[in-house]
Subunit: 398 residues, 2 copies
């Protein structure tokens, strides 16, 4: 599949529309057949929600495309040849990714390396050894361009190839001091990937969402150092949910930066003390004859979902609807619209009797904006029915 320029424009316009996340995007395309048709239908579709959706304007998209062109950013659509199959295989893959640099870098087999921003000297040294070793084995290293472990992983992997997934727009690199690293990555033939629009300054909640792309691009994720309740553990959780391998580097129980990784190992992650420990697991997953240079194999489904369901990555009992994130530069405000648990909570609050959006927000503790997004997804799934005055009811699944 290859989109025309007009189709790509409509895709971008649809995903840039308020309350349209990756899942809603898929639902709309499935229901209306194209982004253009979905954009036409959206205002009517949502007029009874009390807060009809207004599609992103053409002018907004034209401005984004112009800004993207200035940086040489291209948009790859899910299903196109250059859109990584590994990412496509995930539940909440972005319909479009904005790519700066070489598409080759995101198409080669890769492993993510993530970890603390305030890493130890030993953690940084081990990251370097690991990233170089993975590069020598023909694997691209994916990370998040953060300070500490991320930056060291990118730098050590420049030769072997590295991909940075950023939380904001391509023209809003965070942290600012890593603009030079972006240039180095691009000069070395690597790539920068963004989901958010040009001009988007990353907020706290964008970082954990971004992490699903780091893990989703990769055959496995290695967590080098991570405190409990850190963003790196969110990446590990995404890797798990995506059926990817999870690796963790052990550390002294007296080092708080090893608490998260030691926990992961106790929960079943593969202990990594040398690069071979990663390669032994990853190399058999790479198809394509030549092994190291081959394409990405079909992902195995998580075989032991029951086991992993028990995992409590942050050690605080049931996962809160809103993940706590310490590595983010700003407070983490609200759940992304794709949050499964928020969706389940909302479903539980719904019944065949019509109820208003405000009442649902109070009953679930979710922000009204999130309730609106989730209701749209449920409507596209045929799970709910709209009534007058913005009320909704649960449809029987019989």
């Amino acid at each position: 599949m290859q989109l025309t320029d007009a189709q790509r424009f409509d895709w971008l316009r649809l995903i840039r529309t308020e309350r349209v996340g990756p899942r809603t995007f898929r639902g709309l395309i499935n229901r209306f057949g194209s982004a253009a048709a979905a954009l036409d239908a959206l205002p009517d579709l949502t007029k009874r929600t009390g807060k009809p959706i207004v599609p992103a304007t053409k002018a907004q998209i034209e401005r984004e495309l112009a800004a993207a062109a200035r940086l040489g950013v291209r948009y790859l659509a899910m299903g196109e040849a250059e859109y990584p199959k590994s990412l496509h295989a995930t539940d909440t893959a972005p319909p479009l990714i904005a790519l700066r640099g070489a598409a080759g870098a995101i198409l080669k087999p890769s492993v993510a390396i993530v970890g603390s921003r305030n890493a130890s000297t030993a953690g940084l040294a081990f990251t370097e050894r690991l990233a170089m070793g993975l590069g020598e084995a023909g694997l691209v290293v994916v990370s998040g361009l953060a300070r500490g472990i991320d930056a060291r992983a990118h730098r050590a992997a420049l030769k072997g190839g590295t991909v940075a997934v950023i939380a904001g727009g391509h023209d809003k690199i965070y942290p600012d001091s890593h603009k030079g690293l972006v240039d180095e990555i691009l000069e070395a033939g690597g790539a920068i990937v963004a989901e958010m629009p040009m001009g988007w300054v990353p907020r706290g909640r964008d970082f954990p969402r971004r992490n699903r792309i780091i893990s989703g691009l990769s055959l496995g994720t290695v967590v080098v150092e991570a405190a409990r309740r850190s963003g790196s553990l969110i990446t590990a959780r995404f890797a798990l949910e995506q059926g990817r391998e999870v690796f963790a580097v052990p550390g002294s129980p007296l080092d708080p930066r090893a608490e998260g990784t030691n926990d992961l190992i106790r929960q079943g992650a593969t202990l990594v003390a040398e690069v071979e420990h990663v390669l032994t697991v990853i190399e058999p997953l790479i198809s394509g004859g030549e092994g190291k240079a081959g394409g990405v194999a079909d992902r195995p489904e998580p075989e032991d979902a029951d086991y992993w369901d028990e995992i409590d990555l942050d050690g605080t009992g049931p996962r809160p609807a809103v993940a706590v994130l310490h590595e983010a530069p700003a407070p983490f405000h609200t759940a992304p619209s794709d949050d499964d648990e928020a969706g389940e909570r909302l479903l539980a609050a719904l019944s065949p009797a019509p109820v208003g959006t405000d009442a649902l927000a109070r009953a679930t503790g979710l922000p009204v904006r999130v309730v609106h997004s989730l209701l749209l997804e449920l409507e596209l799934d045929g799970r709910i029915e709209r009534h007058g005055s913005g009320t909704v009811s649960l449809l029987s699944r019989a």
Copy 2:
């Protein structure tokens, strides 16, 4: 069962006899019904070996008992009420142990803590936390009185109770500087256990043999810090072979003192980052109603022997007949007579055609003395037949 003084004297005389190890001891008792009868029979039994066994003299045993009495050392025989059932359950349990201090300490549920002599500050601090936590949970801490981790474990467990298993005789404490620690352990109500005779200066090979008693007394063994090929890993291997729990404390891959423990975790040992990680596994193994203060439960057989068979504790491929030991104060010379692998090597060298002892020593690479010991065990097992001129042949097992 309770031995009479005369029986205990004969047991001690038999086990102090050259070439009689724990397995030969059991074989002789089974064949002759008592230690006294075995002592009578030994010279004749071995006269065709070319090197007949001369039992330890009564005077030697009297000297040992007198020296033991001066230090308040008592001998406990396997099967007696004060001989720990957990140790009795092991394949090569010493027929007699020499005990200094409180028998109560060796009868309570216990966990071994072992590790490097040149431990890190963090390793020592964690050892202290662990030993105190186990003590607070009602568990005795067993270790080997070595410098580093062992000594810290004993000291931190003084209040909760601790047992030191030494490699030499009770009057030959090694290292010399730990004589004060021995006194502290005894004053605190703990115990010192020795297998070797009074007056025995520990040699290199005595340390790994001693380690089987450390693990054998304990429900599980925690390895805190251990380089590859270290004595602590030998203790872990014994624990495994004895069907006991193995725990390891992780560390940075860049710290050589964590190589052994990280390897153990990769091989299936339970990662320990806090005392609860030990208690969660150990407490269910303790029977006796009150839980923590109860007796020692029946040991489970190792369920996954095939899995553990794959373990290569020292990372050098097949286990050498003579284990390499870096923590020992002297070079490790020869295999103990109980070494399974040496026995298998000897069996492989035997055939229905009679062959001489010297030829067997050359064929197996084992010292003649070890060949003699192993042949005695095989003879007691009815596996071989003696011929003239000290030759032996393999008996058909049909």
